[in-house]
Symmetry: C2
Subunit: 344 residues, 2 copies
DNA sequence: CTGTTAGCGCGTTCAA
DNA sequence: TTGAACGCGCTAACAG
């Protein structure tokens, strides 16, 4: 299949290096290196010849080696499970921005236990990344130390206030979003508003959302029952289950605020099954404004946060820092929007 | 913030190497290296001292350097956009298996133009990955050459038959799945079955699905109109739009087979809006069996393929090959299932 | 504009 | 069981 008589010798990629290319062209290895990273420093004629040889040989420069000389081009990131979580959009944002900046993205996906987090971070740091992006605040103290002493810039995509960040933070005020949505529901006349989230432990974003919900209830003078809250897995079934649980506990519950659109959408399906009118029988609100939210029947009232942009901005911060930009914001707060549709 | 008086000097990670650790313990660098990769070759007492020093110094071995010595531990992969596509589950499968095997995953996400593909592959190859996983067949001939000469094992997650694979293939027969679903719909009494997909060009999986749909229609002796097919973007809105287009074109259309659950779910919402009974007015079938499919109202009839497992298996193949396993299957075909629920 | 020298941090090789 | 020397492929720094 592979052609063998087409000009340049095609040694396997393994054995091919700047040295070899240099030899073929009759220049020094350094010249080849320059063609790769600072083309302008090389005379056009020489450059052309080198480029040609590279092309003919099918040479792909070894980035491991160049990274060892200090210009690493890896961004490391550890993210929670991608399914149903809206994280996929964020990852896409990160990926796009990385590519544009000439960086590659090393992705570790895992659950958020302290040990798993620590081990993931350790692994990533082994690759001497130019920068790191983490979700939520880093819990493990050891991991924090490691990150600090690695010297790499770090962005936590997280709640923008609370604990001391390691370095930079990009995110929204989850407190504000949840507070705003709860107030919004109250303003629409709902009296008894439930709150459903995925497991909160160790996730400061969810903690802040719950706190925002509490703050709003308190301010409204609404009784603040723990029994108005449930935690369920991040699946449509979880949302349906939560709806059932809460309405059985409180016959008079008239709206539920879900910490994720996935959950809210599941609950809406359950309402259809029971032929409950939305919002007549109960109002449903979500969080995230995923693609389906606007198309849902009935359209979902939700909190819109631009996750794609969050991912992009996180990488941007890193690259700006690496580019030596001064006066870089420590905290980047993205806005949000209460999208008022028909479900509540 | 960072403690400075806690025992071992904490030089920045940059300056820390086996050499430095060795000096502190009073052994040769090689001994430290062995503790890291072949602990059994080192006397327990020595090992303990080294480990302690590593811990105290917060030393994280540089994987770039070890990769350069031939034992690279990177799996490179390029995937289509993660949102709405079911690819997220696959990525999760890949990630889990990589971690378990001690590999890191370098992820490039991009659209599937030939140039983008080539450039992504080139970038990835620069990191001298131990293995590569690609979606669909690789189109660019240059990229194929590059992959072959890189010497790395390659898995294409794709249609399992058709073009000559570069190396190994993992996937399902998309032809079979679509054929089976179309036959299934026919068996349930549907006479005029539409087909909706996301843009087919350059995606052999979608091509095969369409071909399977065609084959079934032909076998059933059903007239095979191109006007029964539409392509739309992979969004819920796209699904809704397709429903409208097809039903306007053919008043007698009685079922639509969508090449993705996302599309089908969008169409179901549109039916609700129009108060069309499902499956009374029209039957809807999807593809993928995403989490929401079973919870949807009405529950979605769909093709179930285990995307998580596909991702896992792809990495498994790579690792088995790297582990020197003989008699490795070139083609790994995962099964599928027609999940008959109420929407059709 | 181009070449030379030196060395990044590790592991392979061979010797002790 | 441990150590010394060498080199992987690339590039910073300095000459020329």
């Amino acid at each position: 299949m592979a052609r063998s008589e087409d000009g340049g010798d095609k040694k396997p990629l393994e054995r091919l290096g700047v040295r070899e290319i240099a030899k073929r062209v009759g220049v020094a290895p350094m010249t080849v290196s320059r063609v790769l990273s600072n083309p302008d420093m090389v005379a056009p004629a020489t450059r052309a010849k080198v480029l040609e040889a590279i092309e003919a040989a099918g040479f792909v420069p070894n980035r491991l080696a160049s990274s060892m000389k200090g210009n690493g081009r890896i961004i490391g990131t550890v993210v929670p499970p991608l399914i149903n979580s809206g994280i996929a959009e964020q990852v896409q944002g990160m990926s796009d921005e990385c590519q544009q900046g000439g960086y590659s993205m090393l992705l570790v996906q895992g659950e958020f236990t302290t040990e798993a987090e620590e081990s993931s971070i350790r692994t990533l740091l082994g690759w001497r990344p130019a920068g790191m992006i983490l979700q939520s605040f880093v819990q493990s103290e050891v991991a924090r130390q490691l990150l600090v002493s690695s010297g790499a810039p770090v962005v936590e995509i997280s709640e923008i206030k609370g604990r001391q960040p390691i370095d930079m933070v990009v995110g929204v005020s989850n407190f504000e979003t949840a507070y705003a949505m709860t107030m919004h529901l109250a303003a629409k006349g709902y009296k008894r508003i439930g709150f459903v989230s995925t497991p909160i432990h160790g996730n400061d974003r969810l903690q802040q959302r719950r706190t925002g919900y509490h703050a709003a209830l308190t301010e409204l003078g609404i009784e603040n029952h723990a029994s108005l809250e449930v935690e369920v897995p991040i699946t449509a079934a979880g949302g349906a289950e939560a709806l059932v649980t809460l309405t059985e506990r409180h016959a008079d519950i008239d709206a539920i605020f879900f910490s994720s659109d996935t959950l809210a959408i599941g609950a809406v399906q359950e309402c259809h099954r029971r032929a409950w009118a939305i919002p007549g029988r109960i109002g449903i609100a979500g969080y995230g404004d995923m693609d389906l939210a606007a198309q849902l029947y009935p359209p979902l009232t939700t909190v819109k946060v631009n996750r794609y942009e969050m991912g992009r901005r996180a990488v941007r911060q890193l690259l700006d820092r690496l580019g030596g930009k001064q006066k870089l914001a420590t905290i980047t707060s993205l806005g949000f929007e209460i999208v008022d549709r028909e479900s509540a």
